[in-house]
Subunit: 340 residues, 2 copies
């Protein structure tokens, strides 16, 4: 129906017509708003996101949520950007350790650095998880917070993803960028709640996702305040884990950093299960989303048996509780912004 | 000068006149904005706040700071509200331990509870700081985060300050509420960075200060995610300190929670010194404010020798570095909102 076709109606008539038309109008408004998600194929997944946002933003409706409580949380690795073939922060750490090796001649004799630097994969693998964490720790400590931020920026400017041959921060998901923007346009405050390092993500999260540093929650190491020789204070990054923002740590992180319960949460792996449980256990309308990587041709396909981004228990619970599961292959028109 | 007196000027003439008049115009604009601080007496302290806000908000001027970097941090105890004769959170903890005693018959035989509950001040004092911390810990652990928040609300509804005979949250400082509002009206994001417990403050900070939970940073205990018998998860507060947001901990807390350096900081004690150093060490215009309690008649007078809110080293540094020191007696027209 076009307004041009009803020029004879009085103002009162138009209002009556609008009331009569209200149901189709809502559909039309929802459809217009759905243009905020052009990278999503039409279907129940896209519709579930739009329906939820409609429910919590319509004033005087039972599910209305005031803007200050519209908190949305997103996992990062595998939810907002790619996490294969290796968490990108691990790739960063490996590159950093190689770059730092010249300043650490002692590493040539000390494991796990020795086998890593010699590219002896078997000997490095024999160090197990502890060896991996020691390497990652070395890349993330013994420097000021400012120097660390510079090392992250430098890496993003140089490093390329082995399969897509693009800078790592080009591998964010276009459909999820649209969800972030759509939520913010509807009065939501969007947060990252990731197992990744908070200082690693903050360097690029604002530019990539429009999420400012104070809305990025992640794992962290202890920092120590020190007065520099020039009388200017610095924060030194120590090789001591402070907080692991993964699994049951995510609700704790949400409680500590945000201080109220989200109404919308999106993840992709078992590390997000407790965040989704915590979000959906609140009163009123709640949205829980899980991204299922099903597209080996355009990205990757993995779930229950993957060592990275394992999606097993959370998938079972999503099915039981009818959470919204995104089938990447079916639901996404494009994966990365550069495909557009 | 009144525009009515220059009706003959061309548009170009008016523009030229405006440019010529720009200095008095800025003063007039600053004066108009200063009405946002009516509880402050005119003088250099009030002017320093207004001048700083003017400098960082005028576009195309050398000290301009874009809104997303206008981060302002405030200590809470003794800066935004009263902290005498005892930190209010300690008063809460004492009341809680008394209320919880019926559920803990074993406390009658166990120190420091035994002497505290028997009101044996000498024996309790003999337990030292450890006894005090044990008491505070007991009031802040062994319950869910939701139950704790309720206990804080209940206390504020019942408890009264011993001198002012008003609910503790009535004892916020009117001039500081005005500074918070004035900064927000000028595009600042305002944060609390306090040694107090983050979950204690969040219960009332939004209503009292207009600061939402996610902008409250404080000390915290470890929380543990647990699935309840009803299938709903809870966060249990454990008797384990996670982070002390005081002294050198404040820059670490700012780094972890906010992730960029503030341009404006306000405190009142030596526990705020490192936060002020960290804030002022950044590039560009910076504001460091210290509230000096000088008014025993209307509030309290204390500084270098006080066990609560000791202001010694920070006062010396403020003098050396020409930070803005508020003299409560001289600079504040009213102290509390109820005086208006």
């Amino acid at each position: 129906m076009n307004v041009q076709t009803v020029p004879m109606l009085s103002r009162r008539g138009i209002i009556c017509a609008l009331i009569a038309l209200s149901a189709p109008l809502w559909t039309a408004i929802a459809r217009a708003q759905s243009d905020a998600l052009p990278a999503w194929n039409e279907g129940p997944t896209k519709q579930a996101i739009i329906d939820f946002v409609g429910r919590v933003t319509r004033e005087h409706q039972p599910d209305f949520v005031p803007p200050e409580q519209r908190i949305a949380v997103f996992d990062n690795d595998g939810t907002l950007w790619c996490e294969q073939p290796l968490y990108f922060q691990a790739a960063f750490a490996f590159a950093r350790v190689k770059a730092m090796a010249a300043q650490h001649p002692e590493w040539k004799q000390r494991e796990p650095f020795k086998s890593f630097l010699a590219n002896d994969k078997q000997a490095f693998a024999a160090q197990g998880e502890k060896g991996l964490l020691t390497l990652i720790g070395a890349a993330h400590s013994g420097m000021t917070t400012d120097a660390f931020a510079r090392s992250v920026s430098d890496w993003f400017a140089e490093a390329k993803h082995p399969r897509f041959n693009r800078p790592y921060n080009a591998l964010v998901y276009q459909p999820m960028l649209e969800v972030l923007g759509y939520l913010r346009a509807n009065g939501f405050k969007t947060f990252i709640v990731s197992g990744g390092g908070v200082e690693f993500m903050r360097v690029w999260a604002e530019k990539s996702y429009g999420i400012p540093p104070e809305q990025v929650i992640g794992s962290s190491g202890v920092t120590q305040f020190k007065m520099g020789d020039d009388g200017k204070p610095v924060l030194m990054k120590l090789a001591k884990v402070e907080f692991i923002d993964d699994g049951p740590g995510k609700p704790s992180g949400i409680n500590r950093f945000i201080g109220h319960r989200p109404i919308f949460a999106f993840g992709n792996s078992d590390g997000d299960l407790q965040m989704l449980q915590w979000t959906t256990a609140g009163m009123g309308a709640r949205f829980a989303g899980l991204l299922h990587h099903t597209d080996a041709a355009r990205e990757y396909a993995y779930d229950r048996n993957s060592s990275i981004g394992k999606l097993d228990k959370a998938m079972t619970e999503a099915t039981a509780k009818q959470w919204t599961v995104v089938d990447m292959k079916r639901d996404w028109k494009v994966i990365f912004p550069f495909e557009k």
